[in-house]
Structure formats: C-alpha cells, structure tokens
C-alpha cells in the first residue's frame, strides 16, 4: 500500500515536471515568434489592434490544440493557423463592409496619435524615417501581390521557414512554394527597384 502511494506521488511529480517543461518550451516558442507574427499580420490587416487579436487567437489555438506535438512542428502549424485566422478576419471584414455600405455608413478608423507614436529606438530620426518609408513601401508592394505569393514571401523571407515548413504552413506542395516565392521576389523587385 505504501509502495503504491509512493509510486503514485512519484508519477504525479513526474507529470508536473513534464507540464512545467512543456510550458517553458511553449513560452520560449511564442516569445520568439510573436513580434514577427504581429508584423506579418499587420501587412495583411493594416490594423495593429486587429493584428494583435489575430496573433493572440493563433497563439491560444496552438497552445490549446497542438502543445503535444513536437517543438519542431510548432512553427509551421502556428503560421498555418495564423494564415487561416487572417483569412477569416478578411472575410468578416468584407461582410461587415457590405453591411455598412448597405446602411449607408462606413467603417470609422479613428486616428489616435498617441497610440500610433513609435516606441523608443536606437535609430536617429532620419534613419527611422528612411526605414519607416522603405518598410511602408515594402508593405504596400506586398499587399499588391497575389495572396499566395505574399504568403510565400513573408514565410520564407521574413520568418525564415524552409520550403517544407512553408508548404506545411500554406497547405500546398514544395514546388508551389518555390514557384510562388520566386514570382514574389521578381515582382517585388520590379515594383520597388532600389527603394528598399
């Protein structure tokens, strides 16, 4: 009886250790991807608050459903969830826009200068402005790309996923990823030239 109780306690401790380890791994992963995921979401949503919501949804969904997958699988899974969340958000926005236009109104975008103010940076103002202008141009060019090309470029170039991981995230073949990415690079180069 005592042996059984000791064994039970040992097993409980082991499970708690595993849970803590899993939490630490998940936290490290989310900390690593969150800022880049946010910037990627901003390119698609053009709205920081919406992008934050989309990224939070994707993080919660990953933790809730895929925490037991291997750590190596998390990145492509996370970006696949993020991609789907962005698509869902875009569809909702289209529907909302139709409803608003039906009733003769339009979605208000109140500009809050304090909320939009840049954070502290080591860049001097001239450098920051140049970087901001170049990034704005890049974001606009990305928005002008076909969706699959934009996704392939952001996942491969910004997030650094390899071809196989990008294919998993996009839900397509490796060959499609290579084609979309190559076309994206050429179109962006044509659009931006030496601007970036």
């Amino acid at each position: 009886m005592a042996f059984a109780a000791t064994l039970q306690a040992h097993m409980c401790l082991q499970r708690e250790d595993e849970t803590l380890e899993s939490r630490a791994e998940m936290e490290a992963f989310l900390r690593d991807v969150e800022s880049r995921a946010f910037r990627i979401a901003v390119v698609s949503t053009r709205d920081a608050d919406e992008a934050l919501d989309v990224v939070q949804d994707a993080m919660i969904s990953l933790a809730r459903r895929y925490a037991d997958r291997s750590v190596e699988e998390w990145r492509p899974l996370f970006y696949r969830i993020l991609k789907n969340r962005i698509r869902d958000w875009q569809r909702r926005r289209i529907v909302r826009g139709r409803v608003m236009s039906f009733f003769g109104g339009q979605e208000g975008e109140e500009y809050d200068p304090i909320a939009q103010a840049p954070g502290p940076s080591s860049e001097n103002p001239t450098e920051a402005l140049a970087r901001s202008d170049a990034m704005d141009a890049l974001e606009q060019a990305l928005r002008d790309l076909p969706r699959r090309q934009r996704e392939a470029f952001m996942l491969r170039n910004f997030e650094g996923l390899n071809v196989v991981e990008t294919a998993t995230a996009m839900g397509c073949s490796d060959g499609s990823v290579k084609t979309h990415y190559s076309r994206a690079v050429h179109r962006l180069r044509d659009m931006l030239g030496e601007h970036v």
Binding site: L30, L62, R85, P118, G160
Partner: protein, 133 residues
C-alpha cells in the same frame, strides 16, 4: 537565369529581410506589452488543457474498482444478472449507466474526435481558398 540576376535576387532578399527585422525591433512598448499579455493568455490555455493530475491517476483506478464491484456482486449473487432476483437491480442499472456502451464508445473514439477537431482547425479558411488564390 543568369548569375547577375541571381545575385540581385539574393541582395534584394537580404535587404527586405533586414528591413523587416528592423521594423520588428522598432515595435513600440504598447504593442510589446499586448503581445506579452497574449502570450500569457495562450499559456493559461496550456495550463487548462492539462487535466488535473488526480483525475488522470484515479480514473483508471475507478474503472477497475467499478468492474471489481460488479464482479463481486455477480459472484455473490450466484445468478444470471439478466434476472431480477438475488441482488439490487437498481444498483446494477446504475453500473450499467456508468459502464454504458455509449460512454465506452466515446472513450474509444477520443482520438477520432481529437483528429476531427484538428482537421476543422487546419482547414478553417481553406474552403474558398482555391477558388480565389
């Protein structure tokens, strides 16, 4: 493709990557704070997801105890459980509910339900995708 073009592609990719990384590094404090909050919300979900240790460890023991109790009752009754003589029929009915076929089916198919939920998650947003993209 000529090597000059390949070199220009590589340089362009490096420049855009650097630009993106700088824009990430320049994120404001409010955004970073919101992202941290979002991360902790996700980690809370992770904690909720892990079933309490006591339920995981006692569930199999409970099932074994229920089966043992049923066996004991059948053995002590020394009769066909389908007849109503010899022991409390209501108690057997309760056990039947506890060990009902539907419940066992559900437990056996938990992996299927988990898979189904996962498919819904991974294919969400894909329905119109092929038609648009």
């Amino acid at each position: 493709m000529d090597s000059e073009n390949v070199r220009k592609d590589r340089e362009f990719e490096e420049r855009t990557k650097l630009l993106f990384e700088r824009s990430v590094a320049a994120l404001d404090g409010r955004t970073r704070s919101k992202l941290t909050q979002a991360r902790y919300r996700a980690l809370d979900e992770l904690a909720k997801r892990a079933r309490p240790a006591w339920s995981r460890s006692w569930l199999p023991a409970g099932a074994v105890a229920a089966v043992a109790l049923l066996s004991l009752m059948l053995w002590q009754g020394q009769m066909d459980p389908l007849t109503d003589g010899g022991f409390d029929v209501a108690a057997v009915a309760d056990l039947e509910i506890l060990l009902g076929e539907e419940a066992l089916d559900m437990i056996e198919e938990l992996e299927f339900y988990a898979w189904l939920e996962e498919q819904v998650e991974l294919t969400s947003g894909e329905i119109v995708e092929d038609g648009i993209g």
